[in-house]
Structure formats: C-alpha cells, structure tokens
C-alpha cells in the first residue's frame, strides 16, 4: 500500500526541554490513525509540524500523498477557528475562495459536503447563531469542502456532548468511506480512537516515544452497535493496557 506520511528520526525541543526525540513511523494512504498519550507529550506539536505550522528541531518528515492545498486541519477549539464575521456559508467557502474557485463551483461543493451531514445548517446565519455541535459541523464542513487528501484533527469532539460527539463520528466516517482521505486524529478518549481509527498509536510521557501501535481492522462505517461488540472490547482492552503502562496507574 502507498505511504502517505513518512516520519524519520523527528525531534522537537524547546530550549533544553525535549518534547520528543527520534520519532519514526509511516502512515499508509487512506488510513485513519489515532494518537493517544498523556497531556503534554507533544501530540499536538507533532500534528503542527506535519501540517507545517511549527518548525521541527531535527529529523525529517514528508507528506507523500496529497497536495498542500488538499490538506486540512480541524482544530480542537472550533469557536476560535471559525470567523464570526462571516456567514456559515462564507466560512465553509473560505478554503475554496483562497484557491480562486468560481462561485458556482463553491456552491456546488458546499451543497455536496452538506449532503454528508444530516443536520442542515442555516447557511446565511452566523456561527454565533448556532449551537456548539452545529458550529463544529461548520468547522468540519469547512475542512472537508476542498475534499482533502490528508486530514489532521486535534481533539475534535472534546467540547461536544455525547450525542453530538457520536453524530460527528458518524459524519466523519461517511466522509471517509466516500473520499478515503488519510486521517490523523489526536484524542484523549480511547472509545473515540477505537471507534474511528484502524491504527492506534500510544505515546509515552515526555520525552515522548511510541510505546505501542494497536491495529484495529474493522470495516467502515462503524455504527454505535460496534461499540457494544466483542471486537471493540478486545481492541479497547489492548489500548487501555498499553495506556495504563504509560500512565503508571
């Protein structure tokens, strides 16, 4: 299978403080990979390096599959990443507007992406007129509107209630099964990781290293019923055991 993201001996330190050192891994094209680890072990920094937001200290990384303009990032704090002065439509349209896409094409792509989400968003309203869950849908739609080949997601569900959390997981899987992007997702929630990812990477405390990689080869879409299955419980146990060792509890 084609490699989408390759990381070799990657290190990041702030002054004398080493966040992680000599990290090496590869992510295959079309995989959903979840990163789990204790707070402050550098997961977000790693994601920021791979997306080009932060400079690495040493080592190398490469996005082998996916043009820069087809790379998207969904931030943990959707309220602070949406632009409140633009309507929901204009927020969703922004990535395409920046690429000088024609208005008709923008409209078509927004309608297409809206089709994935069951909840219809009032496009002419502003983000502040929506509930938290709906705002996160707008943030997701904005990230997905240009049909990214690589998608970075940083704790996307942490601010949502459980219902919206499950709904967005469902929408994300709908998008994934349709377009098959490579997805890298950071989460603190083992349930989310096992529900969504087909590979779960567990990081140690700072300076972070990869402690374990748990494979989770179940078919998509994974419904809520999957969360009650034996397969789910088995993978969850594996991840929990690895995490327990890391956390020392």
């Amino acid at each position: 299978m084609t490699i989408a993201i390759a990381v070799k001996n990657l290190s990041k330190h702030f002054g004398k403080e080493v966040l992680f050192q000599n990290l090496s891994f590869q992510i295959k094209k079309g995989e959903i990979v979840a990163f789990i680890g204790p707070n402050g072990c550098g997961k977000t920094t790693l994601l920021n390096i791979l997306s080009g937001l932060t400079e690495k200290s040493e080592g190398a990384w490469e996005i082998k599959e996916g043009k820069p303009e087809r790379l998207s990032y969904i931030f943990q704090n959707y309220r602070d990443s949406l632009l409140p002065w633009r309507t929901n439509y204009k927020n969703m349209a922004l990535p395409l507007e920046l690429q000088n896409v024609q208005e008709k094409q923008i409209e078509k792509q927004i309608n297409e992406i809206q089709g994935i989400f069951e909840e219809k968003i009032a496009l002419q309203n502003y983000p502040y007129q929506l509930s938290g869950g709906q705002q996160q849908i707008v943030a997701f739609a904005r990230a997905l509107v240009n049909k990214p080949q690589v998608l970075f997601i940083d704790e996307p569900f942490s601010a949502l209630d459980y219902k919206n959390n499950l709904l967005l997981r469902k929408h994300l899987q709908q998008y994934y099964t349709h377009y098959k992007p490579t997805i890298l997702i950071i989460t603190h929630n083992i349930e989310e990781a096992v529900h969504l990812a087909n590979k779960i990477v567990i990081f140690s405390e700072k300076p972070a290293r990869i402690v374990d990689i748990v494979e989770n080869r179940q078919a998509y879409p994974r419904t809520v019923a999957f969360l009650r299955s034996r397969k789910y419980t088995k993978v969850r146990e594996q991840v929990l055991s690895a995490f327990q060792k890391v956390a020392g509890i």
């Binding site: 080009g52 937001l53 990032y73 990443s81 632009l83 002065w85 990535p95 920046l98 502003y126 502040y128």
Partner: protein
C-alpha cells in the same frame, strides 16, 4: 429603541440636585440658574438662530479633524501593529505625545498652521489620531492566533490573512479607538475655539457669554455641548453594534 428604567436614575438625580440647589438658592442665583431657566434660554438661542451656526461650525471642525485622524490613524496603527518590533520602536513617541495635553500643544500648532481653523483642526486630528493609532495597533497585536493559523493552513498569503482575518479581528479595537477619539475631538475643538482665531463655534459662544456675564446663556450652551457629545456617542454605538454584530455574541 427601548430604554431600561434604571438608566434614567443618574440623570434624574443630577436634575433633582440642580433643581434643589438653584430653587433653594444654596448658590447665588446669578451664578446658577434653574434647569427651567437654562432650557428656556437654550430654546431662545435656537429660536433666534444664532446657536445653529455655532453648532454647525463646531461639528464641521470636529468632523474634519476626526476624519483626518481616522484616515491617517487606522493605516498607521495597522502598520505598526503588524510588527511588534516596529511598534516598540514608536511606542515611546506615541505614549509621550499622548501624555501631553492637546491644549498645551495648541500654541505650537498656531505657530505652524496660523490662528484660524487649520490649527484647531490639526491639533485635534493630532490628539485623536494618536488614540486611534494606539488602539488599532493594540488590536492587531492581540488578534487570536488560532484563526490566523486556521487560515494560513488553507494556503492564505499574508495579504489574505490581513484581508480575511486580522482586519476583522482588529475592527472592535479600532472602534474603541474611534469612539474615544470622537469624544476627544469634540472636547479639543470646543476648548481651542475658546482660545483665539474664531468668532463662531460653541466654545467661542461659551467664553463670550462668560465675558458678558450672560450666565444663563453660558449654561445653555454648556448643556447643549453635553447633549451633542452624548448624542454623537449614542449614534456611534448604534452604528458600531450594527457593523460589529458578532462581538457581543
């Protein structure tokens, strides 16, 4: 527009105190006319028509000075705020001149611009401009990084980031500067009209009435100045709320 009852408590107390002090003659009636006498005098000044000309000249001078301050202050503030080093290079100069009362600079401005309207407008524009520069630069420097990062990841250039994020993020702080500058402009214009070089304007009228001991007339024009300042502020807030609809959400 609906006004909450408690908003009227302050003005009613001031009016009642004024009424009691003047009616009970706690202060010599010559130096403190009653509210009724003052309002009657104000109506008389309007009926005679002389005060309209004064008001229009004051507003015109203030408007021109405020316009110049805005046109020069906003771009300069945006420029200075775009680089912390650049702002710090000029921080001392801005704070130094902001600390000098504008009226202390007036003699200098009359030397440069002459004793007529140009010096009044220039000194007002100078003082108001400093307020706008300071607030605009502060706004640019305190824009939310998360939004800038989100748009940068979409492939935005520096110009895009300014056009789609920084400018809009700065707008609320620009309006804080504009509102303060507007009130200050009225104050400085009125004070400079009292000095020299004009026979028309509310400041001139106040000082003339004081010279000829038309105390009722003096109070009437002071009252009018206060009402004008208040109304300008109210109109500005209404415009601000309409334009910056997202700020209080």
């Amino acid at each position: 527009m609906k006004i909450a009852k408690h908003v009227l408590i302050g003005p009613v107390i001031v009016l009642v105190v004024w009424l009691l002090v003047s009616e009970l003659k706690l202060i010599d009636a010559f130096f403190l006319p009653t509210p009724r006498e003052t309002i009657t005098e104000l109506v008389k000044l309007f009926v005679e028509g002389t005060i309209m000309k004064d008001m229009l000249f004051t507003l015109q001078r203030m408007g021109i000075a405020f316009f110049i301050a805005g046109v020069m202050g906003i771009p300069l503030g945006l420029l200075l705020g775009s680089s912390r080093k650049l702002y710090e290079s000029f921080e001392f100069v801005i704070d130094f001149f902001r600390s000098i009362p504008a009226t202390a600079m007036f003699p200098l401005f009359t030397l440069v611009f002459g004793i007529e309207d140009r010096s009044k407008i220039a000194v007002t524009a100078f003082a108001a401009g400093l307020i706008i520069i300071f607030n605009t630069a502060y706004g640019v420097m305190h824009t939310k990084k998360s939004r800038t990062l989100a748009v940068r990841l979409m492939g935005a250039t520096r110009l895009h980031i300014f056009r789609f994020v920084s400018f809009w993020e700065t707008l609320p702080q620009i309006f804080v500067g504009l509102r303060t500058a507007l009130s200050l402009s009225l104050v400085i214009i009125i004070v400079t009209e009292m000095f020299i070089g004009t026979y028309v304007g509310l400041g001139r009228r106040i000082i003339d009435f004081q010279y000829i001991y038309n105390i009722k007339g003096m109070y009437a024009v002071i009252l009018l100045t206060g009402i004008l300042g208040y109304l300008i502020n109210v109109i500005f807030i209404m415009v601000e709320k309409r334009l910056l609809h997202w700020t209080e959400k």
